[in-house]
Amino acid sequence: MKVAYWPGCVSRGFTPELHGAMAQVAPALDIELVELNRANCCGAGVIAEHSQELADTLNARTFALAQKEIEQGADMMMNICSTCQGAQSECQQRLDASAEYRDEVNRHLTPEGLEYAAGIVNKNFLWVLVEELGLDALASKVKRPLTDLRVGPFYGCYIVRPNDRIGIDDQHPRDTYLEKVIEALGGTVVEYAGSQKCCGFPVALMNAETSFKQAGRHLGDAKDAQADCLVTPCPLCHLNLDMQQPRVNKVVGRNLQMPVLHLPQMVGLALGMDPKALGLGRHVVKPTAVIDWSTSVVGAVAA
């Protein structure tokens, strides 16, 4: 399949390993990525907090650029960031609800030759894996099953709430997809309290203590449940859970040492790709519990 691909800001900023991993994994899954180079930041909910019209216009612009690619044969728009998914879905909900409002917003796009038509399909890579590719097809591509790897799913907020906006229903239990993917790749799902809670990132600059206590609580819960690592579809969660983990450790008074994988990295490992090439060496908490670097065997090794 071919997708109009929006990587987001963070995957090309502080988590470059995510963008790199996606670029490697996509061809192995027969996904052709057409990158939306002219698209802009989704606003991460903060621009909407500043001006709803501005956030809606910026995202309508991204959707319109994606729709140009869809006209040229792309199947849908795809993102690799839960926060983009949530912030864009919020704007799409308003844009799709009212033709009159959409016309107002489109007026800002006309000079660039763009127009957003209601009803774009914009899916996170996680949803594409389950709903478009299919778990059986994914499982059939596994070359190095994640045997013995105990993985805690970390969804964060934006990709699971509010469930009506995110499209979670009986036919699309999107709040269970991470577990399904972990199992399809041969790993073991670890249940723990924090898998759908907030990583704390949005308040990291305003109230670091609240922020790091949240991250520390979930990392600690996962550790107590004997997880080897977490996996997340959200690079912003990754920043708070991995990059900030040394500061989190200080706030919660515990040496957590919990590696956090990006979703495409976990898929890439199971597809037999080189851990280093997937950027696992770039994490702040090195996934030594995930990878035996001497043999590149995936699975828990003695710490």
Binding site: R38, S51, P246, H283
Partner: protein, 398 residues
Amino acid sequence: MSTTEDTTKTDDGAWHGDSEGLKEFTLRLRRFDPESGKAPYYEEFVVEMEPHRSVLDAILTAKDHEDGSIGIRCSCRAAICGSCGTRINDKPGLACHTHLSDALDRSKDGKITVEPMGNMPVIKDLIVDMDAVHWKKQQRVTPWLLPQEPLPVKEHIVPREAMVDVTQSMACIQCGACVSDCLSMEVDPLFIGPAALAKAYRFVGDPRDSRHEQRLTDLANDPHGIYDCTHCFKCIEACPKGVAPMNQIMRLRRIASADHDIEDVNDGSRHEHALVNHVKKWGTLNEAQLVPDSKGGKLHPRSAKEIASSVSVIATALLRRKVTPKTALIHHKNPNQSEIRRIYSEIGARDERLELNLYITQPDEPEAPGDQDSSHEAQIESTGDQSAVNTPATDRTH
């Protein structure tokens, strides 16, 4: 509003409420009596009821027939009084407003687990201490009107549209479901919280109130105020009345920053402006710049403090080549950045904010055919709002 009836699940006609539709339900109640000196425990009760009956009905049946000591607070049984807030299978809500069949659908083990709400101390069984947390936080936001003196001789007349805007926060029935699930409060019990901040918007959005700026200055500068919300949407999911407290918190932030230029000590408005300006300048976020920009600039003491506490993180990120000095210093600009700037200036030039409030304005095509009155067009006619968009008469500032 919070529960959706799945009409496809009509197993053996249970929905029709005839005597054959009785079904056995197992309630798993969390019991706790602090006076007993015993630890909390779970106790199961089996009740036979029609599936459309409420979880509250089932609890009261168990209380009547099996154990009169079960503690639950309730009154109206009609989702009006807000007394029976509980957690049912891990989700907060009103016990009287949750069908047994829906509760069972959400169960992992075939039992309906009912627990007291979170973030508040338990008085007994399913009864939590609302005074200690919920009501104290309500009082924190001065939950009454502070009108301009002298008061009008007769009633205070306001434009209809202005009051329509605050109806959403007025729909709150003070059940505490949002407080129960608030993820900020889970780690910061001092956070003012979703219910009280939604109440604060009820007055900040009310044109009769004369202290909007004072209220917002207070809530923006409180380290546990509007900028302590982590934007997790939990309260939106929890609310049985569609109040969407988080959306009201975002409106408080918008009005504080855009209409009153409040620069808070928590860097909330600075962070907002930093992010907005980054997209204006580059089209995407420049993360290496976002920290100093949110802290008042590279040379500001707050930036120095933040950078000092991040030294180990920055060093590790550089060591792992997560960030290179080049990527940190030079940020790629969007090839069509002039178009993005034009959008900013067009929207910035508006005298009034253009907003679409889906709580008030229903979507174009109603899902249920024949439900014409709730359509977008009907809404325009009935409210006289020609643009069908909610445009509060407030000045825009950057």
